[in-house]
C-alpha cells in the first residue's frame, strides 16, 4: 500500500498503458472488455487515492527514474491537475462499462480488441498529459493521446465511412498543432536550456524581453488551441466526435478537449505566469477573449442548423469550449475558477447527453437525425429522462450543474469586463435553447415515424447514464465541492503570476 501511495502519479499513467498492451493481444473480446474495465477502475481508484493525497499535501512531485529535475522528468499532481485526472478517470470508467455492445456493433470484429487497447492508450496519454511537468514529455503524451484518439475515431468506419475522413482531418490538424507546440518548446529550450515547467518559469523572466520567448509562447498556445478546438481551429472536432464509435464520442467529448484546455492554462500560467508583466500578455488575452466569444456564437449557430444529433452536440461543445476559454482569458481568480467549474460540469453534461443519444441510436444502428428519427424518447423513457436532465443542465437550469457554471462565469465576466460580456454570454446561452428545444421536440414530440423498429431500453447503459444524470443534479445542488476545488485550482495557477 505504501508502495502504491508513493508511486501514485505514475500509476495512473502506467496502469492504463500496460493494460492497453495486454488487452491488445487478447483473442477474446469479452476478456478485453473486462480488462479495460478493470484498468479503468484501477485508474479511478488510484485517482481517488491521489485526490486524498493532494488534499493533504497540496503538491506531489514524482521523479522518474530517480533523476531529479530539471534533468530528469518530473511528474506533478497538484490541486489543478487533480481536476482533469478525476474527469478522465470517472468518464473512462463509466463509458467503458457499457462499451461492449456498442463496439460489437459499430467496430469491425477483428478490431475490437485493438479498439479497447487504443481506448486505454488514450486514457494513459491523457493522464500523462495532465501529470507531466516536462514540456517535451507533454508533447509525447499529447501525441500518444491524440494519435490513439484518431485511430479510435476511424474505428467508426463500419457504420459510416466518413469516420475515416474525420479521423484523417483530426490527425492532420492535430499533428500540426502538436508540431507547433513542439516548435515552441524547442525555442524555449534554445533560450533557457531547460524543459522542466517550473524551471522554465524561473528562467524565462531572467532572460528579460526576448523575442524567442514571445515566438515560443505564440507557437505553444497556437498548437494547444488546435487541440483544444478553440474557434476557428475547431473544424476537426464536429466530424471526429460525430463519426467515432459511440463510447468513443463520449470519452472524447468529455475528456480530450478538457485536458487540452487544462494544458493551455498550465502553459499560460505556470510557464509564462512569472513573465506575465515583462511581456504584457494582456493584449494576447483579448485575442483569446475574442475567439472565445466567436466560438460561443459560431458553435451555437452551427448546432442550430445541424441535423445529425451527435454532430449537433459536437457543435455545442465548440460553443461550450468558448465559455471555458472565456473564463481563462479573464485572468482573474474568479474567471479561472469559473472556467474550471465549467470544465468539470461540461464534462458531466456532455457525457450524459452523448450517452443518452448513443443509447437511443443503438437499435437503429445509425445516427439519430434530429428530425427523421423522432418520438424515440417515448420508446425509451428512462434514457429520455436522463437526456432531458442533461439537456436542461446544458441550458443552465437551476439545480443542475449547468446553472452553477453559468452563474460563476457570468459573475467573473461582469467583475472584470462589465456588463457587455455577461450580456453576450446570456445571449449565446439563450440561442443555445433553440437547439436544445429542437432536440427535445424531435425526440419526444414528433409522431413516431420509426415505430416499425423494435426499440427497447438498453439496460447496461442505465447505471452509468443514471450516475451521470445523478451527478448532474447532485453537483447542481451541492456545488460546494466543485466550486471549492476550482477556486483552489485557480489560486494554485495564479500563484505563478507575480
Amino acid at each position: 500500500m505504501d508502495l502504491i501511495i508513493k508511486n501514485l502519479p505514475i500509476l495512473i499513467v502506467i496502469t492504463p498503458l500496460m493494460f492497453s498492451l495486454i488487452v491488445a493481444v487478447l483473442p477474446n473480446q469479452r476478456h478485453s472488455w473486462f480488462l479495460t474495465n478493470l484498468a479503468s477502475l484501477l485508474t479511478l481508484f488510484f485517482s481517488i487515492l491521489l485526490g486524498i493525497e493532494v488534499s493533504e499535501k497540496n503538491l506531489i512531485s514524482y521523479h522518474l527514474g530517480n533523476w531529479p529535475p530539471p534533468l530528469g522528468i518530473e511528474y506533478i499532481v497538484d490541486k489543478v491537475s487533480i481536476i482533469p485526472i478525476f474527469i478522465i478517470a470517472v468518464i473512462s470508467c463509466l463509458a467503458s462499462s457499457f462499451a461492449h455492445n456498442f463496439f460489437t456493433s459499430e467496430v469491425y470484429n477483428n478490431l475490437i480488441s485493438k479498439t479497447y487497447s487504443l481506448w486505454l492508450l488514450t486514457i494513459a496519454g491523457l493522464m500523462g498529459l495532465v501529470t507531466t511537468a516536462d514540456a517535451f514529455n507533454l508533447f509525447v503524451f499529447l501525441e500518444i493521446s491524440s494519435l490513439s484518439a484518431v485511430a479510435l475515431v476511424a474505428m467508426g468506419s463500419k457504420v459510416d465511412k466518413k469516420a475515416l475522413v474525420a479521423g484523417y482531418n483530426y490527425l492532420i490538424l492535430g499533428a500540426i498543432g502538436a508540431t507547433f507546440y513542439v516548435i515552441g518548446v524547442g525555442l524555449l529550450y534554445g533560450v533557457s536550456g531547460t524543459l522542466n515547467m517550473s524551471d522554465l518559469s524561473q528562467k524565462i523572466p531572467e532572460l528579460g524581453l526576448n523575442k524567442s520567448v514571445i515566438v515560443a509562447f505564440t507557437f505553444m498556445i497556437l498548437g494547444i488551441m488546435v487541440k483544444a478546438a478553440i474557434f476557428p481551429l475547431h473544424i476537426w472536432l464536429p466530424n471526429a466526435y460525430a463519426y467515432a464509435p459511440s463510447p468513443v464520442s463520449i470519452l472524447l467529448a468529455a475528456t480530450a478537449t478538457k485536458v487540452a484546455i487544462y494544458i493551455l492554462a498550465r502553459i499560460s500560467f505556470t510557464i509564462f505566469g512569472t513573465s506575465y508583466d515583462i511581456y504584457s500578455f494582456e493584449s494576447l488575452r483579448y485575442i483569446l477573449l475574442f475567439l472565445s466569444i466567436c466560438a460561443m456564437f459560431a458553435g451555437t449557430v452551427m448546432a442550430i442548423f445541424e441535423k445529425d444529433t451527435k454532430k449537433l452536440l459536437a457543435h455545442s461543445s465548440v460553443a461550450q469550449i468558448g465559455y471555458i476559454i472565456l473564463g481563462i482569458s479573464l485572468v482573474t481568480k474568479a474567471g479561472i475558477a469559473s472556467s474550471f467549474i465549467h470544465l468539470i460540469n461540461h464534462a458531466l453534461i456532455k457525457a450524459g447527453l452523448f450517452m443518452s443519444v448513443v443509447a437511443m441510436s443503438f437499435y437503429t444502428f445509425k445516427r439519430i437525425d434530429a428530425t427523421s428519427i423522432s418520438g424515440i424518447g417515448r420508446q425509451m423513457p428512462i434514457t429520455f429522462f436522463a437526456f432531458i436532465i442533461c439537456a436542461l443542465s446544458l441550458a443552465g437550469l437551476p439545480l443542475t450543474v449547468g446553472f452553477i457554471s453559468k452563474l460563476y462565469l457570468i459573475k467573473a465576466a461582469y467583475m472584470s469586463e462589465g456588463i457587455w460580456l455577461p450580456f453576450l454570454i446570456l445571449l449565446s446561452s439563450a440561442l443555445s435553447l433553440v437547439y436544445i428545444w429542437k432536440l427535445i421536440e424531435g425526440l419526444w414530440y414528433d409522431v413516431d415515424k420509426n415505430n416499425k423498429l423494435k426499440i427497447k431500453e438498453l439496460p447496461e447503459i442505465y447505471i452509468p447514464l443514471l450516475i451521470i444524470t445523478f451527478l448532474n443534479i447532485y453537483f447542481g445542488i451541492d456545488a460546494g465541492l466543485i466550486i471549492n476545488s476550482s477556486y483552489n485550482a485557480a489560486e494554485a495557477l495564479l500563484n505563478g503570476i507575480k
Partner: protein, 143 residues
C-alpha cells in the same frame, strides 16, 4: 518482381541483414546503435523478403498475429522493466536495482529496454508494411 537475380540475391542477403540488426541491437550502448536502428534493420530484411517473394510468403515466417504479439511484447517489456524498479521500491524507470551493482543494473535495464524498443520498432515496421503492401496507387487525381 519476378526477377531471378533479385530472388537469389535476396536469399543471400536476408540472413546477414538480420544478424547485423541483432548485432546493432546488442551493441547499442557501445556505438551509435540501439534498439531503434536495430529494429529498422531487422524489419528491412523482412520487408525485402516480402517485396521479392510476396507478402504471403513473408507471413509464413512472420504471421500477422505473431507480428502484433511481438509488437506489443516489446512495448510491454519496455514498460515492465520500469515497473520492476517500481515494485522494488524505486521510482518508475529506475533500473538501479536490476543488477548486483548500480552500474550493472543500469546496463541490464538499458539492454532490456533497448530490446523492447527494437522488438517494437521492428514489428511496427513489418506491421506497417503488411498494411500498406497492397495499397494500389490507382488512377487517382492527385491534385
Amino acid at each position: 518482381m519476378n526477377n531471378l537475380i533479385l530472388k537469389v540475391c535476396t536469399k543471400v542477403l536476408f540472413t546477414p541483414i538480420i544478424l547485423f540488426g541483432l548485432y546493432v541491437q546488442f551493441h547499442g550502448d557501445f556505438g551509435p546503435g540501439g534498439g531503434f536502428q536495430a529494429g529498422v534493420i531487422v524489419a528491412a530484411a523482412f520487408i525485402l523478403y516480402a517485396m521479392v517473394f510476396g507478402v504471403d510468403k513473408c507471413k509464413i515466417i512472420m504471421p500477422t498475429k505473431l507480428n502484433f504479439f511481438l509488437l506489443v511484447l516489446g512495448a510491454f517489456l519496455y514498460g515492465f522493466v520500469g515497473i520492476v524498479g517500481l515494485i522494488l521500491g524505486e521510482p518508475y524507470l529506475s533500473y538501479d536495482l536490476l543488477g548486483s551493482t548500480k552500474q550493472s543494473g543500469q546496463h541490464i535495464g538499458i539492454l532490456l529496454v533497448e530490446f523492447g524498443v527494437g522488438l517494437t520498432v521492428c514489428n511496427v515496421m513489418i506491421c506497417l508494411f503488411y498494411s500498406f503492401a497492397n495499397f494500389k496507387f490507382g488512377s487517382n487525381k492527385n491534385d
